[in-house]
């Protein structure tokens, strides 16, 4: 579980670690924490999965990965976990989530593929469908067009007050 100091620490680093010789020392100065405490808390947060990963966060679009497809399937509930786990093992899948169906949107499994162009993404999707036996299920492919907004969530809880970058909710 997160305590108040973890919240403060995540808030402080969500916009990025300083690019300076002793970044954890610099963060600690801002928070009144020792360098050792910053390192120890980050290690625990990473170990327990409250930080999914810590490292360089690249900008796909700027690096030439401009085709971004969200693929949704309607998978029988009994199979969704097994197939979700299999899809996640694919090297080109960047997100894979189960969500509820709605009366107007009958899909329950979502994954995201980023590629350099549409053809590559579609080829990867066909390979994924073959590898994971997904051909029989209803699906839709939703390529992104305009990006209206993309930034870290401004998260304002009761107290304490962190703001954090979330994975795609």
């Amino acid at each position: 579980m997160l305590d108040a100091r973890d919240f403060q620490l995540l808030t402080e680093i969500q916009s990025g670690l300083p690019i300076s010789p002793r970044p954890y020392h610099d963060i600690g100065l801002a928070l009144g924490m020792s360098e050792a405490e910053v390192i120890e808390r980050l290690a625990v947060l990473r170990q327990t999965g409250l930080i999914k990963r810590l490292g360089v966060i690249v900008k796909h679009r700027k690096l030439g990965y401009r085709a971004n497809a969200m693929i949704v399937w309607n998978i029988p509930d009994a199979q969704v976990k097994m197939l979700g786990d299999r899809i996640s093992r694919s090297s080109f899948v960047t997100l894979c989530y189960q969500r509820p169906r709605t009366p107007e949107w009958p899909y329950n499994l979502y994954c995201m593929i980023h590629g350099k162009d549409r053809g590559t993404v579609l080829a990867q999707l066909e390979q994924l469908s073959d590898d994971c036996d997904l051909q029989a299920f209803d699906r839709e492919i939703l390529f992104s067009r305009r990006c209206f907004k993309q930034r870290g969530a401004l998260y304002r809880p009761v107290a304490p007050a962190p703001s954090a970058e979330f994975a795609h909710g």
Partner: protein, 152 residues
């Protein structure tokens, strides 16, 4: 033009960033360059916006509660609806996608009640219904993104 150092920094340190007093020195030692070279190259990558930052990825719903939302909006109304939605500080991603459900966004708030209030307000302000698609299961272990930088 990306140097080999840039390419290594982009691909090799997306996870397991060193948790030691001098992490950039540790990276420098692994790559056989100086700490200064690493610091300058990372600053260049940040300035040219090829990396957004060095930081944490926090899974959804660990802090607060988040929701993926879809809306079907006529093309002529899309920009107006998107502007209304983007204006909310609770909204982070907001994309147009190729589908009859053509507007997709993620909203986060500290409580489910607060989140519902925001989405209710968005419905009444835009005049379109939301499909609320909360996360039930996250299957993906985020190991970062393998970039092909052969021609970069």
């Amino acid at each position: 033009m990306l140097t080999d150092l840039h390419k290594h920094l982009l691909n090799d340190f997306q996870r397991d960033f060193p948790l030691v007093e001098r992490p950039y020195l540790e990276i420098a030692n692994q790559l056989g360059v100086s700490e200064d070279a690493v610091l300058s190259a990372l600053t260049e990558l940040c300035n040219s916006q090829l990396i957004s930052r060095i930081g944490p990825i926090i899974p959804p719903n660990q802090i607060g509660t988040s929701m993926l939302v879809a809306m079907a909006v006529p093309e002529s109304e899309l920009q107006r609806a998107a502007d209304i939605i983007s204006h909310y500080p609770e909204v982070n991603h907001n994309y147009e996608r190729e589908n009859r459900f053509n507007l997709w966004f993620v909203a986060v708030a500290s409580t489910a009640e607060q989140l519902a209030r925001v989405l209710d307000a968005i419905e009444s302000e835009t005049g379109y219904k939301t499909q609320r698609l909360p996360l039930l299961n996250d299957f993906h272990i985020d190991l970062g993104f393998r970039l092909d930088l052969t021609h970069a």
